[in-house]
Structure formats: structure tokens, C-alpha cells
Assembly symmetry: none
Homo-oligomer: 130 residues x 4
Amino acid sequence: MVMQIDLNLETPIYEQIKQNIIIGIANNKLSPGEKLPSVRQLAAELQVNMHTVAKAYSQLKTMGFLAVHRNKGAVVNKPDMYIADTEYFNSMADRLVAYAAEAVCKGVKSGEWISACNEAYEKVFRGGIE
Amino acid sequence: MVMQIDLNLETPIYEQIKQNIIIGIANNKLSPGEKLPSVRQLAAELQVNMHTVAKAYSQLKTMGFLAVHRNKGAVVNKPDMYIADTEYFNSMADRLVAYAAEAVCKGVKSGEWISACNEAYEKVFRGGIE
Amino acid sequence: MVMQIDLNLETPIYEQIKQNIIIGIANNKLSPGEKLPSVRQLAAELQVNMHTVAKAYSQLKTMGFLAVHRNKGAVVNKPDMYIADTEYFNSMADRLVAYAAEAVCKGVKSGEWISACNEAYEKVFRGGIE
Amino acid sequence: MVMQIDLNLETPIYEQIKQNIIIGIANNKLSPGEKLPSVRQLAAELQVNMHTVAKAYSQLKTMGFLAVHRNKGAVVNKPDMYIADTEYFNSMADRLVAYAAEAVCKGVKSGEWISACNEAYEKVFRGGIE
DNA sequence: GTGGTCTAGACCACT
DNA sequence: GTGGTCTAGACCACG
């Protein structure tokens, strides 16, 4: 798995790592049960500190996406470990409002907004039959 | 204009102020040419530090939403000062991908995602004919 | 609030800090809304590293016990932020089984076990009317 | 004796093995004088490393539950080798306090706590007259 | 002055 | 060789 990290971005590195892995899970580049590189390996690859990677892994573990073991490294969990609940739907809605507001201000039309949202979804969708 | 600030949120206060103003512009509670309260006034009203409000105004100025004059205070700009360009569309798309990926992972269906996006847009839309 | 930390224990320092704070909340030495010492302050007091305290605070935040702000430090949350759900009851039961088994092996009588459990509860109970 | 090992748990494998054996002794599935499988045998059965089983046995020996002989393998000790002393009661009390504190914080009532403790005890009790 | 992030290096637990 | 813990020091965002 290739990962895109931009050290100049305001987004913390560990957040970027998290996002990359989440995107990987979403579009099936990372399947449940698949092993991720060790913290040391990934840190070397991305040229960042080991602890930064460890923090990303640890938070993904808390979010339910990964299982992390002392000796076996990090492994992608089965989907039932992190399936959406009502609370998630609410927070998702809230976060979208802030983005939508800026888009509206900037004159983005309803159709443009929806098609951008749709493209984003398709871009990361794991594909296959639902 | 009433502003909702939650000091307990992880989002920085100045970001919350920015978002409130942007939402206000989006749904026409704030019209182009309208004068905003002074930094001191708003700070007192929200019970936050003056610098915090100043930072929000300053960034909104950079984003093109406000015009800030030395003695006249802050005024909402005309839409052509901050209309979306290609660069904005790209950054919007990038940010949406991160959200969409988490949603996909958590099993949110395409229809659910789109309707959430649509609701968010309608919630902040300034109304009127497209 | 006085805190008991034993560097020679196998329990990680940050866990000990967490436990001390949880006990403090349980027996009302720490009330909702009360401010905790800053990470630097507590670290100096306990003679441990700042980051170790920060980790404890951060995990207590995740568990819902604390609200942590960039500038205001850590504050004890209101009880409704961390009230027990079914899942908690189950994990609590599981953890108790391991302890009970050892006690049974060691010939601890049912009555002794129950009274020890009861004493532990009373020792940390916040007192007052339910 | 069937043993439940969950590699995905945060609890170290050797701890899980220890707990299983202790629970076995508690509810009389393992009687004093009974021979346990050899390190190699159990390791093969559980599909874990030999050293892991050896560590569990060794610690159980230190705790007084097992006698381990060079060529005879591991045997369950007689109860008088590991009967509770004051020190054990104190450590048990300390461990219970940490659990009780979290329960109290989370609003678990005294009765709920006691009945959970009681159930845990009954679940592992070896049966018979006290 | 507060916590957050990142880096760095050491030692340990686990298998 | 894996992740976990602890220490330490630098810089930044926030107010």
C-alpha cells in the first residue's frame, strides 16, 4: 500500500496516516485480516518517527478499525468491529454542514455539491455488490 | 445574529466563529454590505478573548468573505469576492474524500451518504432560485 | 488532591494516574466541573514526565471522564458523559471472574469475597443519597 | 481440559493460560495431584509458542498452584500450598478498589455491584460445602 | 501558560 | 523483531 503524506500540510501526520488507512479499507486495498507494515517499517518508509505511526495505529485501534498485538503487529479488523451507529450518523451530518456552508457561500450549486459528494463516495467505495 | 459557541468542543473557538459567520452568509442571515459587530463587541458577547475574534475576522478576510477596515469594522463582501474557483473545488473534493472513506468503512450506503450531503446543503442554503 | 504513584509497580504510571483520578471522582474528592492540575504541574509533583501525565489525561478524555482543552487544561466531566451501558456491565463481569477464580482457589470463602467486594465499593463510594 | 485462548485480546497469552488453569482449579475441573499436559503438548494444542506455555507454568509454580518437575511435567498442588494469607487479602482488596471505583463513577449501584461480584464467584466456585 | 505534535533514544514485555 | 512505556526536548496552536 502506497501512502501519501504531506509534511507541509496543517493536518497532523498521524491524522494523514489514519486517513490513508481508512481510505485503503474503504476501497478494499486493505482487506479485513490483512497485516499492516510494522510501525518501524512504515515510519522508515514515510520518513517519520516511529511514535507518530504508533499513535496513528493506536487511535485506529480505538476506533475499531485495527487490532494491534504486541508481536503480530497491526491487522485490519472485520467490519462488524466498526459498523456505524446512530451517533456516528449524527456526527457525520454535523461535519458535513460546515463544509456545505462554505460551498454555498462560494456559490457552489446544489447539483455541483451533490455530484462532488457522490464522486468522493464512489472514489473510495469498495465496489462489488451490496 | 445569534452565534453558537461551545467552549467544550475540540474545534478551536476562532474556527467556530468563522463557521457561524460562513453559515450566516450561506443562509442570508448576513447579506453583502452588512456590518458585523466590532471585535470588542463580539468578544464581550461571546465571553471570549478579543484576539480570538480578531483572528476569525482576519482569516475570513483572507478567505474573501469580509472586508476589514481600520475604523469602519468588518463588512460582508459581495459574492464575487469569494466565488469558487477550480482550486477550491479540488480542496473541497479532497476533504470530502476523507469523510466519505470513513462513512464507507462504517457501512454507510450510497443513498444514505447522498441524502446526508443533501440535507446538509439544504440546511444552510440561502434559498431562492438557482 | 494527593496521588499515590509507585514507580516500582508493574502497572504503567499513566494507568496509576488514571486510577487515582477515577477513584477521586468516585468518592467525590473530584467533583464535576473541577479543574485538574496542568500536565506540567502534575508531572512535576509526581516527578514523572509531562507526556506520561498527558497520556493519562488523554485516555480519561476518551473514556468520557475528562474534558481537555488547549488552554483551560483538564476538567472533570458531568456524570452523564460516562454513565454505564450494557457493554460495560458485561466487561465488568468478565474482569471480576478472573479475580474471583484466584480467590476461590486460594480458599477465600464466599462470605469473605463478598465482604471484600462490598468494602471496596464503600471505600470509593461518593456517599450521599441515591 | 479445554482451554479458551483469544489471540486478539489485549491480555497476554500466558496470562490467559494462567487464568484458564486457575479457573480450572477453582471449579474442580483440575484436582490436586492431577497431571497437566506437557509444555510441548499444550503449546501444540493451543498453537502458541512453547516458551509462552512454559512461562505460564513457571509463574503458576511461583504462585504455588503447580509443582513442576524436570521429567514428570506439571502437577496441581494440594490446596495448602497456595492458601490465602493476609498479604493476598490486601492485594485482592487493592485490585478490587480500582474496579469498584470505575463502577461507582459509571453509576453502578451498590446492589448491582454486589450481585455481579457474587455471580462471578458462583461461576467459578468448585461447589461443595463451605 | 495551556495542551498538542513531532522527534529521538532507551528499555521492556511478548512470542 | 514486534508494539508498549517512559523520558526528554523542541516547536506550535490557542487564548
